[in-house]
């Protein structure tokens, strides 16, 4: 069963993927947040595994990662929390994180445990295609996990096609060359998304980085299959007194 594939077969427009850092704001919030996101109409959940040195992320996500680590979040702890996830969560869930923590856990054990709890795919932004093809891709495939590569406006057509070919589930289109949580110029993004669309890639495209509200979410829908929100949601959670309510307000604000 490939939940991400099924999702895009049912719905190929305005797919909303929301990221949050596991263990933030509190260690035991993981399932509360996943349920709240699902209830409010989020199509796909991207669960961040906190890392001390998250290079691709901006200050908001790094700060949430530090809090999560101080709260005691580890990959082992996260898999314990996710053990019965599939009793309540029907939407696809992907894990996002950095290679060093996965290597220490053991790459194959990580894939096996992720698959066991019902994780659908992985995003490891610092695992380059060369290493993926040489070593890791076969392990990911063995455990029936999808693997999502990122492309940016700087990525050449040849390389976009290669990364699309190596990806399954969806392709993550970084809206501009930047870390997460920065404001973008949306005219440039439209031209870039049009270009990606013209390649007629095998994977659906979700746009991430700089998507923070209804306006920015709507602005990228014409030439993509949906978008990913991360930093803005984390920002909302960081000042929240009631994370269920905050999640409802935030997601409704984006969708309606």
């Amino acid at each position: 069963m490939r939940r991400i594939k099924e999702l895009f077969e049912k719905k190929n427009k305005r797919v909303l993927n929301v990221y949050f850092t596991a263990g933030f704001p509190n260690l035991e919030d993981t399932s509360i947040l996943m349920e709240a996101l699902q209830e409010n109409g989020v199509d796909l959940i991207e669960l961040g595994m906190p890392y001390s040195d998250p290079l691709a992320d901006g200050p908001v996500i790094q700060e949430s990662s530090l809090v999560a680590l101080q709260n005691g979040m580890t990959i082992k702890k996260l898999f314990e929390q996710l053990e019965s996830m599939r009793e309540k969560i029907q939407v696809p869930v992907v894990l996002m994180g950095y290679m060093n923590t996965v290597m220490q856990y053991g790459f194959e054990k990580f894939c096996a445990d992720a698959s066991h709890v019902g994780i659908d795919g992985l995003i490891l932004p610092d695992l380059p295609p060369f290493e993926f093809e040489k070593l890791y891709g076969a392990i990911v495939a063995k455990y029936n996990l999808d693997f999502v590569f990122l492309v940016t406006p700087e990525t050449s057509e040849e390389r976009v096609r290669k990364l699309d070919n190596l990806s399954s589930g969806f392709l993550y289109a970084v809206s501009s060359s930047s870390t997460t949580g920065k404001d973008k110029k949306f005219n440039d993004i439209t031209a870039y998304l049009e270009r990606l669309q013209s390649y007629q890639l095998k994977n659906p495209i979700l746009v991430g980085f700089g998507i923070r509200d209804k306006v920015t979410f709507d602005s990228v829908q014409t030439h993509s299959n949906g978008a990913i929100i991360g930093s803005a949601f984390i920002q909302a959670l960081s000042t929240s007194k009631n994370i269920k309510q905050t999640t409802a307000d935030f997601i409704q604000g984006v969708l309606n």
Binding site: L55, V102, L150, E154, S177
Partner: protein, 397 residues
């Protein structure tokens, strides 16, 4: 056949270590560099300018000095490679000279760098002033307080110093911030990494720019001793740039013993140490696979050393390979030993070394030096920047 230790393969691997573990947002920048650095490096016009600036601006070749009183003490022959006499006071400028010419060739207008103690920041600010390029240096908020004179030097040279306020607010975080800046500036910016760390091609490129140290050492030894090859070469290692340069042209000479000295801090097993090979395991830090000090869960830990230049939780992939293959012998020196040897060398030879460099001397007592041996120690930097620490030590004596 002699195994080549100095050069990586096509993908930037030294044995099991190296590569380029970078997010796609950095691909364009790193690929531009990777595809061009060797052809630029080998271009005679590039070499001509590089060697000219090393000679007339940096003051190379640096002397290979016979340390007579130190030699007498150990009943052996010990030479000091005087990198402390380079312009700006350390070997760091060998690399920044090379990279600034490279950046010009690539048409870059904006230079970024990370710095810990400030030596690499000063060396970068210096070459940016020389070339009239904009310079932004990321420095941990804590280091800015600890290294005020170097912050002032950078500012006087026209650089902008931006505090890294994330994480532990030291070198590791300054490096993260510099990498993020590079991600956000994919066209006009060159990142001058200060050590043999980072994604391929940095470890190889920085090692090549520092290899001038061992290239000169060979010809100076030949002149002084009749042989190009010493018994051993000793250098301190944090990320490992002075060591890479001091070892480079000796690595494929099986008779030359290679000794790398890490910072043990309060002691290797004290929990306050920066002896990466002793405390780390294979991992990924700042874009390359190497040996990394980290928790069981793969979170990078904050090391400790009295010298900011060795206070780094990783080590260049070339050194990780020298360690695991046994080509180099890795030793360590504590804060206390380094401090003791800083005073020892000051009073034996009239040279005040940087605290980093002092670590390299501290292992002499543990080595079995014979009367027929020739040892070369890379005196990587001068101690001016550490005067405040030395003054405190004198007050407490």
């Amino acid at each position: 056949m002699v195994k080549l230790f100095s050069k990586p393969d096509e993908q930037g691997y030294f044995g099991d270590f190296g590569g380029a573990y970078i997010p796609e947002m950095l691909h364009q920048n790193v690929e531009e560099l990777r595809s061009q650095y060797l052809s630029i490096y080998h271009d005679p016009v590039f070499q001509q300018e590089y060697l000219y600036l090393l000679k007339d601006y940096v003051g190379r070749p640096t002397p290979l000095f016979l340390a007579e009183r130190l030699s007498e003490r150990f009943k052996s022959t010990i030479y000091l490679k005087r990198e402390d006499l380079c312009h700006t006071g350390a070997h760091k400028i060998n690399n920044t000279i090379g990279q600034i010419i490279l950046a010009e060739r690539l048409g870059k207008k904006r230079i970024i760098a990370e710095t810990g103690a400030g030596q690499h920041g000063v060396a970068t600010a210096t070459v940016c002033a020389l070339k009239g390029l904009e310079c932004i240096v990321y420095m941990g908020e804590k280091d800015i307080v600890r290294q005020a004179p170097n912050v002032a030097r950078m500012k006087m040279l026209g650089a902008t110093v931006i505090p890294a306020t994330s994480g532990s607010k030291t070198l590791k975080d300054a490096t993260n911030e510099a990498i993020r800046d590079w991600i956000n500036h994919p066209h006009d910016t060159h990142y001058i990494i200060g050590s043999v760390v980072g994604p391929h091609p940095y470890p190889d490129m920085v090692a090549r720019f520092q290899s001038i140290i061992s290239q000169e050492t060979r010809s100076q030894l030949k002149e002084k001793t009749g042989s190009e090859l010493p018994t051993r070469v000793i250098a301190c290692v944090g990320g490992g740039s002075n060591a890479a340069g001091a070892f480079y042209h000796f690595l494929d000479e099986p008779t030359v013993e290679i000794i790398a000295v890490e910072a043990a801090g309060h002691g290797v097993n004290s929990g306050m140490s920066a002896a990466t090979t002793q405390l780390g395991v294979p991992g990924i830090l700042h874009g390359s696979k190497s040996i990394v000090m980290q928790t069981e869960d793969g979170q990078v830990v904050e090391p400790h050393s009295i010298s900011a230049g060795l206070d780094y939780p990783g080590i260049g992939p070339m050194h990780a390979n020298l360690y695991t293959t046994g080509r180099a012998r890795f030793m360590s020196a504590t804060d206390e030993q380094a401090m003791e040897w800083a005073f020892e060398i000051s009073r034996l030879e009239g040279i005040i070394p940087a605290l980093e460099t002092a670590h390299a001397f501290a292992v002499l007592e543990e080595l079995d030096l014979s009367i027929n041996d020739t040892s070369v120690i890379c005196l990587s930097g001068r101690g001016d920047k550490d005067l405040a620490t030395y003054m405190t030590a004198m007050e407490n004596q």
